[in-house]
C-alpha cells in the first residue's frame, strides 16, 4: 500500500472537490429554503419598524367626519387603555399625473393626509428627504416608492393632480400598507397603475377641498388586546357619534399588503424548495457516487489487509475516515457557500421585495436540515462499499487487481462483434461495458446534473414560452394596439366614448366591457375578467383553441387553465358572478349562467370573453368600459396616451401586452433565482466531471501504463479516455434529459398551480437548454480527461506496472 505524499495530496484535491460539491448542495439548500422565511421575517420587522396599525377604521366612500370626531369615539370606551396610539387621516382618491420627459404617466391613485410626526404607519424614506414639522401646512408630498421606482422617477419633483393642481414631492417613501401595492382590477404589477402621495394632513385637507375633515382612524394597541371587543366598543361609539355614516374595520392581518406577502411567500417557497431539493439531491447523489467509486478502488487494499489477518474494523477505519472527512468538510464549506448564496438570493429579494428592513441571514435550522443529509449520505456512500469489501474472501479481493478483473461485466455483449478502429478503438466501449456498475454510477451522477439543468433551465424556457404565447395573442394583428380603460362603464353611444374614438391621434377602435367576475362551476371557483367583445372584432379578437364565440347565441370563452380548474369543457355551463352598475358610483353583484362555448389561447387563467349576445343576460348590454385603439397613421402610441389620459373618464391607457409585462415582472424573481441555481448546477457539473475523471484515471492507471510500455502515445491514451467519457456522458445526458423533462412536467403540474395559480405555464424546453445539457453532460465530461493529461505524462510506468499496487 503506497501512501506517498503525492498520493495524499491528490486525494486531498479529490476530498476537497467532492466536499465542495456537497457544500454547493447544502449551502444552496439553506439559502433557497430560507427565502419565504426571509420574506415573512423581513415583512414582520418592516411592519413593526414602521409601527403599522393594528386596526384601521375607514368611513364609507365619500363620507367624512370632522377632525377629532373619530378619535373622540375612543374616549367613552371601557377598553380605552388598550389603545396606545390613535391617529386620524384623510384618504382621498385622485388621478395622478407624473408625466416626465415626454412620457405620459397618468394613473389613478390617492392622496393620504396624515400627521407629519405620525406615530402610526410611519414612512420609510427611500430617496429625497422626509417630511418635517415645518412642512405641516405646506403642500409638499412624499411619493410612494414602488410606483416611483417602476417608472424610474427622480427622488424629488412635481406631480399634477385631478384638476390640474401641481404638487411638489420631496422624497420617495415606503409605507406599511403599500409594501405590496394592490389595486382593484390589477392582479399583477399594480404599482405601475396606482400612485400614492403622502401629504401633511392639513395640506391634504386644503388640497382636496375637505378642510377640517378626516375619514380614517388608525390604532395601535397593547399586545394581547382583544380586537373583537375593541371593535364592538368602537362600533357602538361610532354609531352613536356618526349615526348616518357607514364605516368598516380592517385588522392588520387583513390588510391586503400583509396578506399578499404571506400568501405569495408561501406559494413561492414551494418552487424555491424544489430548486433547493434538486440541488441538494444532485449534489449528495453525485457525492455518494464519487465516494463509493473512490472506496471501490480501495477494495483490493482491504482484501490484502484481510489476507494478512487485519481486523475488518481496522481496515474499515481509513475509508470511513475519508467519508467522514468529505462529509464534514462539505458541511463546513457549506457555510460560506450558504452565506454567498444568501447574499446572491438576498439581492434578488432586495430587487423584487424592497422592504425597509431586510433580513437575509443564514437560518441555522434550514442549514441543519441540508447539513444532516450532507453528512449522512457521504457516510453511507463509504459504508456500503466498505461493507461489501470486508465481506468478500481475501483471495477474491486480492485477485481483483492483480489478475485483471474478476469478470468482464457486459463486455460479452461485444464478444464477436467488432467495431471499426482496431483493438484500441474498441477499448473505450468495451471498458464502458466491462464495469457496468461503475459505468452506471458515473452515468447517474451525470444524469443527476443534466436533470436539474433541464428542469431549471426548462422552467425558464417554459416561463418564456408562456409569456411569448400570451404576448403573441395580445398583439396579434395589431402590435400597436392600446387598451383604454374607463373609470366606469358608459353607454356605447355616450359622448365620452365618441370623444375617444374621435381623438385625432386615434385610428381604428373597438369597444368592449370588462367585468371583474368569479366563475363558478359546482364547488370550484376561479376569478376572471370576463370581457364582452364583438364576435367579429376587426381590430382584434381572441384566438380559440376549441369551440367558437357564436354570433347570435350567447357564449362564454374561458382559458384552458380556468376550464381545467373548473372541471368544465365546451358545452358545460358556468355561473358568472359579476357586478352590475346600479348608479354612477354603485353596483350590485349578480350571478348569470352562461354556456362555455369555447376555450381561448391565453395561458392566463383570468382571461375570459363573452359575446354581445351574452351581454343582455349579463345586464350590461350597450355598456363600454374598455376601448381597444390603434394610433392613427403617423401617430405613436405615446401620442395616444398623451391625448387620452387627460380625459377624466380614462383611468389607464396601456399597450395591449401590459398584463403580460406585469406577469413577466412577477416571474422575474424566479427567473433570477433560476439563473443563480443553474449557475450552481453548472459548477456542480464541473466538479463531478473533474472527480469522475480523476477516479477514472486511478482505475485505469495500470491499463494506461501498459499502453505506454507498448509505446501508445499519450494523445491516443487520452483519446481513448475521452471516447469512454463521451459514451458515458451521452448516455447520462440522454437519461438526464428524460428525467429532467419528467421533473419539469411535475413542477409545472403540481407546484406552479400553487405558486402562480393564475398562470397556465406551458411546458417548453428550448434549444439553448438542450445545448446547455449537452455541454454539461457530454462536452465537459468528454473534455475532462484533458485535465489528467499532465498526470498521464508523468506516469511512472515501471512503478505502475509493479505487482503490488
Amino acid at each position: 500500500m503506497r501512501w506517498t505524499l503525492r498520493d495524499a495530496r491528490r486525494r486531498w484535491v479529490q476530498v476537497l472537490s467532492i466536499a465542495l460539491l456537497l457544500a454547493l448542495g447544502v449551502g444552496m439548500y439553506a439559502a433557497l429554503g430560507s427565502m419565504s422565511a426571509w420574506r415573512k421575517d423581513s415583512a414582520d420587522q418592516s411592519f413593526s419598524a414602521l409601527r403599522m396599525h393594528d386596526l384601521r377604521v375607514s368611513l364609507a366612500d365619500g363620507s367624512f367626519a370632522r377632525a377629532g370626531a373619530l378619535r373622540a369615539a375612543l374616549h367613552r370606551m371601557p377598553e380605552r387603555d388598550a389603545v396606545t396610539v390613535a391617529e386620524e387621516r384623510l384618504v382621498v382618491p385622485a388621478q395622478v399625473d407624473a408625466s416626465a420627459r415626454g412620457r405620459t404617466i397618468i394613473v389613478p391613485g390617492r392622496i393620504v393626509g396624515a400627521p407629519v410626526d405620525a406615530r402610526v404607519d410611519t414612512l420609510f424614506v427611500r430617496g429625497g428627504r422626509a417630511l418635517r414639522a415645518g412642512d405641516a401646512a405646506r403642500p409638499v408630498a412624499e411619493l410612494e416608492y414602488s410606483f416611483a421606482r417602476h417608472y424610474g422617477l427622480p427622488a424629488s419633483g412635481t406631480i399634477r393632480l385631478t384638476g390640474g393642481r401641481t404638487l411638489r414631492y420631496v422624497g420617495q417613501v415606503q409605507a406599511p400598507e403599500y409594501f405590496v401595492v394592490t389595486a382593484p382590477g390589477a392582479d399583477f404589477g399594480a404599482e405601475a397603475s396606482f400612485a400614492v402621495a403622502f401629504v401633511p394632513l392639513r395640506a391634504a385637507q386644503v388640497l382636496t377641498g375637505h378642510a377640517g375633515r378626516v375619514n380614517e382612524l388608525v390604532l395601535r394597541t397593547r399586545p394581547g388586546t382583544d380586537l373583537a371587543a375593541l371593535r364592538r366598543d368602537l362600533t357602538r361609539n361610532l354609531r352613536a357619534a356618526l349615526p348616518a355614516t357607514g364605516f368598516a374595520f380592517t385588522e392588520a392581518s387583513q390588510e391586503p399588503a400583509r396578506r399578499l406577502i404571506e400568501k405569495d411567500a408561501e406559494g413561492d417557497q414551494q418552487l424555491m424548495n424544489i430548486f433547493a431539493f434538486l440541488l441538494l439531491g444532485a449534489a449528495t447523489f453525485a457525492a455518494f457516487n464519487l465516494i463509493s467509486r473512490t472506496i471501490e478502488a480501495q477494495r483490493r487494499e482491504i482484501g490484502v489487509g484481510m489476507a494478512l489477518g487485519v481486523e475488518p474494523r481496522a481496515l474499515a477505519r481509513r475509508p470511513l475516515l475519508l467519508g467522514a472527512q468529505i462529509a464534514l468538510l462539505g458541511v463546513l464549506l457549506g457555510l460560506p457557500v450558504g452565506i454567498a448564496g444568501n447574499a446572491a438570493l438576498g439581492s434578488v429579494m432586495e430587487t423584487f421585495f424592497p422592504l425597509p428592513v431586510l433580513t437575509t441571514s443564514l437560518r441555522p435550522a434550514t442549514f441543519a436540515q441540508g447539513a444532516a443529509l450532507g453528512l449522512v449520505l457521504p457516510l453511507a456512500a463509504t459504508a456500503l462499499p466498505v461493507w461489501r469489501a470486508v465481506r468478500v474472501t481475501p483471495i477474491e479481493a486480492i485477485r481483483v487487481g492483480a489478475r485483471a478483473a474478476k469478470s468482464s461485466g457486459l463486455a460479452w455483449v461485444l464478444r464477436g462483434v467488432r467495431l471499426p478502429g482496431g483493438s484500441l478503438g474498441n477499448l473505450p466501449i468495451r471498458n464502458v461495458l466491462r464495469t457496468p456498475r461503475r459505468t452506471l454510477t458515473t452515468l447517474l451522477g451525470i444524469a443527476a446534473v443534466v436533470t436539474i439543468v433541464i428542469a431549471l433551465a426548462g422552467l425558464l424556457d417554459s416561463f418564456e414560452a408562456t409569456l411569448d404565447a400570451s404576448r403573441r395573442e395580445a398583439l396579434a394583428g395589431a402590435p400597436d394596439r392600446l387598451t383604454v380603460d374607463l373609470a366606469a362603464p358608459l353607454p356605447a353611444g355616450s359622448r365620452a366614448v365618441a370623444a375617444i374614438a374621435g381623438a385625432p391621434s386615434v385610428g381604428a377602435t373597438q369597444t368592449s366591457l370588462r367585468l371583474p367576475s368569479t366563475l363558478r362551476a359546482g364547488e370550484d371557483r376561479v376569478n376572471a375578467f370576463v370581457e364582452v367583445i364583438e364576435s367579429d372584432g376587426r381590430l382584434w379578437h381572441p384566438t380559440l383553441t376549441a369551440g367558437t364565440l357564436p354570433a347570435t347565441r350567447s357564449g362564454l370563452v374561458i382559458s384552458s387553465r380556468a376550464a381545467r380548474d373548473l372541471n368544465v369543457g365546451v358545452g358545460d355551463r358556468v355561473d358568472v358572478v359579476h357586478p352590475v352598475p346600479t348608479g354612477p358610483d354603485s353596483s350590485q353583484l349578480v350571478s348569470t349562467t352562461l354556456p362555455v362555448s369555447g376555450i381561448n389561447a391565453s395561458p392566463f387563467r383570468f382571461v375570459a370573453y363573452a359575446n354581445r349576445a351574452a351581454a343582455g343576460s349579463l345586464h350590461v348590454a350597450g355598456l363600454v368600459s374598455r376601448i381597444s385603439v390603434v394610433p392613427a397613421a403617423g401617430r405613436s402610441p405615446e401620442d395616444v396616451k398623451h391625448a387620452l389620459l387627460r380625459l377624466p373618464v380614462v383611468t389607464g391607457v396601456q399597450g395591449a401586452s401590459a398584463t403580460t409585462d406585469a406577469v413577466d415582472q412577477r416571474m422575474g424573481q424566479f427567473t433570477d433565482v433560476l439563473l443563480i441555481t443553474v449557475t450552481v448546477a453548472l459548477l456542480m457539473a464541473l466538479l463531478i466531471a473533474f472527480n469522475s475523471t480523476a477516479i477514472n484515471a486511478d482505475e485505469r492507471a495500470r491499463e494506461n501504463a501498459t499502453m505506454f510500455a507498448y509505446g501508445v502515445p499519450t494523445g491516443r491514451v487520452t483519446r481513448a479516455s475521452m471516447i469512454e467519457a463521451l459514451i458515458t456522458g451521452m448516455l447520462g445526458t440522454a437519461l438526464g434529459i428524460a428525467a429532467g423533462y419528467g421533473v419539469l412536467r411535475w413542477v409545472i403540474d403540481t407546484t406552479m398551480p400553487t405558486t402562480m395559480p393564475d398562470i397556465g405555464t406551458l411546458t417548453s424546453i428550448g434549444a439553448g437548454t438542450y445545448a446547455l445539457a449537452i455541454l454539461t453532460g457530454t462536452v465537459i465530461v468528454t473534455l475532462a480527461p484533458l485535465l489528467t493529461l499532465r498526470r498521464l505524462r508523468r506516469t511512472d510506468i515501471p512503478a505502475t506496472l509493479r505487482v503490488v499496487e
Binding site: 492483480a402 489478475r403 485483471a404 478483473a405 474478476k406 469478470s407 468482464s408 463486455a411 460479452w412 464478444r415 464477436g416 482496431g422 483493438s423 484500441l424 474498441n426 477499448l427 468495451r430 471498458n431 461495458l433 466491462r434 495500470r702 491499463e703 501504463a705 501498459t706 499502453m707 505506454f708 510500455a709 507498448y710 509505446g711 501508445v712 502515445p713 499519450t714 505524462r793 510506468i797 515501471p798 506496472l801 505487482v803
Partner: protein
C-alpha cells in the same frame, strides 16, 4: 547530449544471428531519495545479439528490473549510454522513446497486464496494432496459434488460467514483430509446469532472430539460457554461459 532519431523502420523485425541488437556502455541509474542516493545500477556495460536467450539473475533489489527498463526505454540512465539496434536512445525525446517502444521492444510482465475488456485475440491484436503491422487480426490469429491458444480467441482474460493469460501476453509481445523481447519475472506467478511451458515459448522466440531477455531470481531457470548475466547491488558480477552448462528445459526442477 547527442540526439538520434529512432525511425520506426530503423529496426529490423529480426536480425541475422550474431548481429548486436543491444549495447550498454557504462550505464548507471541513481535515485535521489530525500537527500540520500540509491544506486540501482552502476557501470553496466553489455552487448546482446540477435538470437540470444539471456537470463538476468540476481537477488531482490539487485537492479534486474532497472536494467530491463533501461533497455525497454521505460526509464533513462543517469550515466552511460544505451544503444539499441545502432540507435542511441539515451538522449532521445519522449516522442522518440514512444516510437522506440512501439517498434523496438515488447514487454511481457509478471502480472500479465492484459486488457480485461478485450478478448484474447484482441489483446494480441493490440500488439500488432500499435506496431503498425498489416492485417493485425491475421497476425493475432497466427500468434495465438503459435502459443497454442488458437481455440481460445474469443475468451476474455478472466476466463483463462494464469498460464494461458501469460501465453496471451507473450503472443501480444510477439505480435508487435519487434526484435527485442523483454520479460520481467514472467513465471513468477505460475506453478512449475506452467512456468516451464512459458519458458519454452520464450526460448523458442530467440530462434526467430530476436534477442530475448528474461529476468528471474531463480537459478534453475538460468540453466536453460544461452547466457546468464548476474547482477548484485547494481553491478554485473558474472556474464557467461550458465554454471554447469546449458541444459534442456525438460531437465529443469524447482
Amino acid at each position: 547530449m547527442p540526439r538520434s532519431s529512432v525511425a520506426p523502420t530503423a529496426l529490423p523485425p529480426s536480425a541475422a544471428p550474431g548481429t548486436t541488437l543491444i549495447e550498454l556502455d557504462g550505464v548507471g541509474r541513481r535515485y535521489e531519495i530525500g537527500g540520500g542516493e540509491v544506486v540501482a545500477l552502476a557501470d553496466v556495460s553489455l552487448r546482446i545479439a540477435a538470437e540470444d536467450f539471456v537470463v538476468v539473475l540476481g537477488p531482490s533489489g539487485s537492479g534486474k528490473t532497472t536494467l530491463l527498463n533501461m533497455i525497454g526505454a521505460l526509464d533513462s540512465p543517469t550515466d552511460g549510454r544505451v544503444v539499441v539496434a545502432g540507435q542511441d536512445i539515451t538522449g532521445a525525446s519522449r516522442k522518440e522513446l514512444f516510437a522506440f517502444r512501439r517498434h523496438g521492444v515488447s514487454f511481457v510482465f509478471q502480472t500479465f497486464n492484459l486488457f480485461p475488456a478485450l478478448t484474447a485475440a484482441e489483446n494480441v491484436e493490440f500488439g500488432a496494432d500499435v506496431a503498425g503491422r498489416e492485417d493485425p487480426r491475421a497476425v493475432a490469429r497466427e500468434m495465438l496459434g503459435r502459443v497454442g491458444l488458437g481455440d481460445r480467441t474469443t475468451h476474455f482474460p478472466h476466463e483463462l488460467s494464469g498460464g494461458e493469460q501469460q501465453r496471451v501476453a507473450i503472443a501480444r509481445a510477439l505480435a508487435s514483430g519487434n526484435p527485442i523481447l523483454l520479460a520481467d519475472e514472467p513465471t513468477g506467478e505460475l506453478d512449475f509446469r506452467t512456468g516451464v511451458q512459458i519458458l519454452e515459448l520464450l526460448h523458442a522466440q530467440a530462434h526467430t532472430g530476436r534477442a530475448v531477455l528474461v529476468v528471474s531470481h531463480n537459478r534453475e531457470i538460468a540453466r536453460v539460457a544461452d547466457r546468464v548475466i548476474e547482477l548484485s547491488s547494481g553491478r554485473v558480477v558474472a556474464d557467461g554461459p550458465p554454471e554447469g552448462g546449458q541444459v534442456e528445459i525438460s531437465e529443469l526442477r524447482w
